[in-house]
Amino acid sequence: MLGTNWLAKARMAKLGRGLAVCGLLAVAACGGATGEDSGPVRVSVWAWYPEFKGVVEAFNASHSDIQVDWTNVGTGPDQYAKLKTAFTAGKGAPDVAMVEFQQIPTFVILDGLADMGPYGANEDKDLYAEWAWSQATDGEKVYAIPVDGGPMALMYRKDLFDQHGIPVPTTWAEYADAAARIKAVDPDAYIASFGSDGGWLNGLMWQAGCRPYGYSQAKAKDEVKINLTAPECKKVVDLYGDLVDKGLMAQDKFFTADATAALDSGKYWTWAAAGWTPGYVAGSLKNTAGKWAVAPMPQWTAGADEQGDWGGSTFTVTKQAKNPQAATTVARELFGRSKAAWDIGLNKAFLYPLVKDVAADPAFTGKAYEFFNGQKVNEIFVPVSQKLGEFQYTPFQDFVFKDLNDRTAEAMSGGREWSTVLEETQKNVVAYAEKQGFKVSR
């Protein structure tokens, strides 16, 4: 095992080297690729997982021929912005980059991601949940190795629902009823918040059977399907819009301090959350710990079993990787079958594993959460992940989510009818796609 301080030392050494060399030599000689010394292949990785340092250490300790240099260049959009500039510039990208599922087609069309198929990545097909593998690949081309996901379920304040005798909703109609009853017993409370989060709304639409996007570069690079106005999609926005309009649903943006505080103060009674949520909330909701429970998502049709996913990420190998074979190994094995990595991933970083064996492990499914008063919540999340079907994204998902966010923001502030949100987004997205040279179908 390496000492815990090695990373810090490596950083200092790197900086020191940079300063010395850059100070002495001509400016143009600075930066860029590190020297080609013999010894293990060094693979650079960009990722923002919590507690990732231990995962990197575990990888480096178990590999003598490949060593990982990890950098956290920022969360989500911050890192993507850097990746996009690096792809545009033709240099500066890492060998391996963490990328969320909905971004994979975007980076594929930017010609940034390498196909890991030739390097043996197809062998991993059966290791991962089917829906995740299909999003990470395009036919035989493997653009990403899944890591974690976010199967959705309903987190709710069991104590409050019990106390007021309100049944936990099993359908969305019941959910709307519960919203009204909650308002009636506590005027300051809401059933939940409409969190202005693209991935969250997407997960809800996914769960409603809405499949608004379709894209396969392998089939046709310039053909894309966009159908946001299908009834399955509209019913989600209609329901939530109605709750917002009636004042039964709050409007705090998720993950802000306000939203977190509201979850912890009894202001919100539910949260349609994801498999990573238990870890997320356990540390920050101190007052209400032990009072929450998890139930399956309310269904659009009573007795149905439709599910959705919110979030999740993968490792990709960029086309700028100096050694794609080694990079592929890193992408496959940083988590992959690594017990040590998943030990950190499950217990410290609270990732929801997309490796089927890990998710099925009794150590995971049988884990009782104090935050949920001893409930074994993974018994709910794991079947959801197994049930998830195929869902595709556009190669310009940032634009779609941003436009959807802007339109729902207009609706929340009263500047737009909720019923026109998806129509307007559909219109804007189609116009954008056509401008980008796509043939758009519904």
Binding site: K14, V27, G31, G76, T85, G92, F255
Partner: protein, 288 residues
């Protein structure tokens, strides 16, 4: 430039201006006070306790945690910020001082054109430059190094403009001509005669460029991807994003607040202490 001391001004003591100034002090100070108070709180207290009053005193722990988090990367950010802004400000000031002096006291081909362009240069939005600069520096393989932040920061048209205006006003031509008659070299004249007389303008340009680089966010955000090279502004926003993203696994809001406080203090102190120097320089710029 000498400025009439406050003593020879009419001293007016009326209640209204003081009431208004008190309101102003409150307005400008309360947010800063909030940072000071909030920096003394633990993350749970930050969420729970009254915003403008102290809870359990946690400042020492916050600072300790601040310098420990991510292997003490905050200390690195502080150092980087000081290094980038120090070098940029020194370089930009030197360039601006020489150029301003050259423009004010010499004539050469293209001078008028250059002077006219100077005001235009001030108006170019920085964001318009960052992206093409990134692509160019990336060709030269110096993105993601400190030079990618420092070199573009050497550009200070406003500094050159200010020095030029100041020299025209405060460095007499006679003095320079007298030195020339004594066969002093141009560089020596600049260094020994002009620079001492330009000091207020130089201090002003130095401080303004220092603040500009210290506070710069966009340029380092685009140029740097190695967290060990970040300045405070980029580092703190990264932490803030992480705090929002991973509230459960890491306690970072208190660190963002404490880190902000420590990022502000050096500049506030520098400005208050150096006020007397730079204010007269600013006056020269303002008068024009």
């Amino acid at each position: 430039m000498t400025i009439g001391g406050a003593g020879n001004r009419t001293t007016v003591k009326t209640r209204l201006p003081h009431v208004l100034m008190a309101a102003g002090i409150l307005y400008f100070l309360v947010p800063l006070l909030w940072v000071v108070i909030a920096a003394t709180k633990s993350q749970p207290d930050l969420l729970d306790s009254p915003a403008l009053w102290f809870a359990e005193f946690n400042l020492v722990e916050n600072i300790e945690q601040l310098f420990r988090e991510d292997d003490g990367v905050y200390g690195q950010w502080l150092l980087n910020t000081a290094l980038y802004s120090g070098l940029s400000a020194l370089g930009a000031t030197a360039l601006a001082a020489a150029a301003g002096y050259g423009l004010a006291r010499f004539s050469f081909v293209g001078k008028r054109l250059f002077e006219t362009a100077l005001l235009g240069m001030i108006m170019v939005p920085a964001t318009a430059l960052v992206l093409p600069t990134y692509l160019i520096l990336s060709e030269l393989e110096i993105v993601d190094t400190m030079w990618a932040v420092i070199l573009p920061s050497l550009l200070s048209p406003f500094g050159a403009y200010l020095v030029r205006v100041y020299v025209a006003e405060s460095v007499p031509v006679e003095l320079i001509d007298a030195a020339r008659i004594d066969r002093a070299g141009e560089l020596r004249i600049f260094w020994q005669i002009a620079v001492p007389m330009m000091r207020p303008a130089i201090v002003t340009v130095f401080l303004f460029t220092l603040v500009a680089t210290w506070n710069n966010y966009f340029l380092p955000l685009v140029m740097l991807s190695d967290a060990d090279l970040y300045p405070l502004t980029v580092g703190l926003t990264t932490w803030f994003n992480t705090a929002q993203q991973e509230a459960g696994t890491r306690m970072l809001f208190n660190l963002v607040v404490t880190g902000s406080l420590l990022a502000i203090v050096p500049l506030v102190v520098a400005f208050v202490l150096l006020q007397r120097f730079w204010r007269s320089g600013a006056a020269a710029g303002a008068l024009k």
